[in-house]
Symmetry: C2
Subunit: 177 residues, 2 copies
């Protein structure tokens, strides 16, 4: 049983290697290379550890870490959704739910349910942990843009107002940020 | 004071973006692209969450996560050390310590000290958390190699015995693995 679980877990660990191939629209700091979802998720985890003390609410940092580490895994099947893309809004699409069930479903049952639950909590953005995790997800591209002369925003002609509206999501997690 | 800390933290968060440029010798699963340290660290964090239940000892999973997320950050200055490289063994070199002091030193004092301490604990490999974190670091390339027909090992002509010796480090973290 423990061996059976381990084999499922190893299988999942191999499958999620694919997240390193999912390209985001954003560029690395001071570079022309696009960021991939795996290195993006690492950066959010680092931001979580470093910035957790600024949360307005007492948060379960471990849960936030799990959220940011797994939040993009569905994109292995469902692709990246650029937050300023008006055609395809970043809602919890059917496609993403099917992806979550397939990929997290590789894990032992209990763990699969835990991960799907954490991913859904992140998507809904209601709990303090989800708000903080989503703040990190919004803040990273803002930092990137300050170091590449507004690269992505210029490229996609994002109107200022939209950037401002999205930035408000950051305020939900921390009034200082 | 809180703002002062935040500015230091933002500065650190921008600096560590460079980890996405540090190339490892290992290839991605089923691919010719080299893995970078940031996506590698994300994968170790995922492995930690998924596999923590198999640890022989009761471990502080949050500390292990911090270890695997930061363990390679010194390589921004000090470069990657391939574990099968005999010329430059993976010891806690002076160069790495200077790198740790510079990079973690960008953070507020208390946080800088915490991170340097966690990195040193990982390097020493004595505590249960460090043993488990190092198991993850050894296990990832083993999994990669089973999916690319022994890519890196063949390429570097690593004798079997060396691979076996390194694998023993995994046993230190979990007898099942
Ligand atoms: Ca290393």
């Amino acid at each position: 049983m423990q061996i059976d679980n381990l084999l499922k877990q190893i299988n999942f660990i191999k499958e999620i290697d694919k997240l390193k191939y999912v390209q985001r629209k954003t560029k690395l700091f001071n570079s022309d290379r696009n960021e991939n979802d795996a290195e993006h998720s690492w950066h959010l985890a680092m931001m979580t550890i470093v910035l957790a003390e600024h949360s307005d609410q007492k948060i379960d940092v471990m849960k936030v870490l799990k959220m940011v580490l797994i939040h993009d895994i569905v994109e292995i099947d469902a692709g990246d959704t650029f937050i300023y893309d008006t055609a395809k809004n970043h809602t919890n699409t059917d496609e993403e739910l099917i992806a979550a069930q397939r990929i997290f479903g590789l894990l032992p049952k209990e763990q699969a349910e835990e991960f799907i639950g954490i991913w859904q909590e992140f998507e809904e953005g209601i709990t303090d942990e989800a708000k903080f995790a989503r703040s990190m997800d919004r803040l990273e591209p803002l930092l990137q843009n300050t170091s590449t002369n507004g690269g992505t925003w210029k490229e996609f002609k994002v109107p200022y107002q939209k950037v401002y509206d999205k930035k408000k999501a950051i305020k939900n997690g921390s009034s200082l940020l």
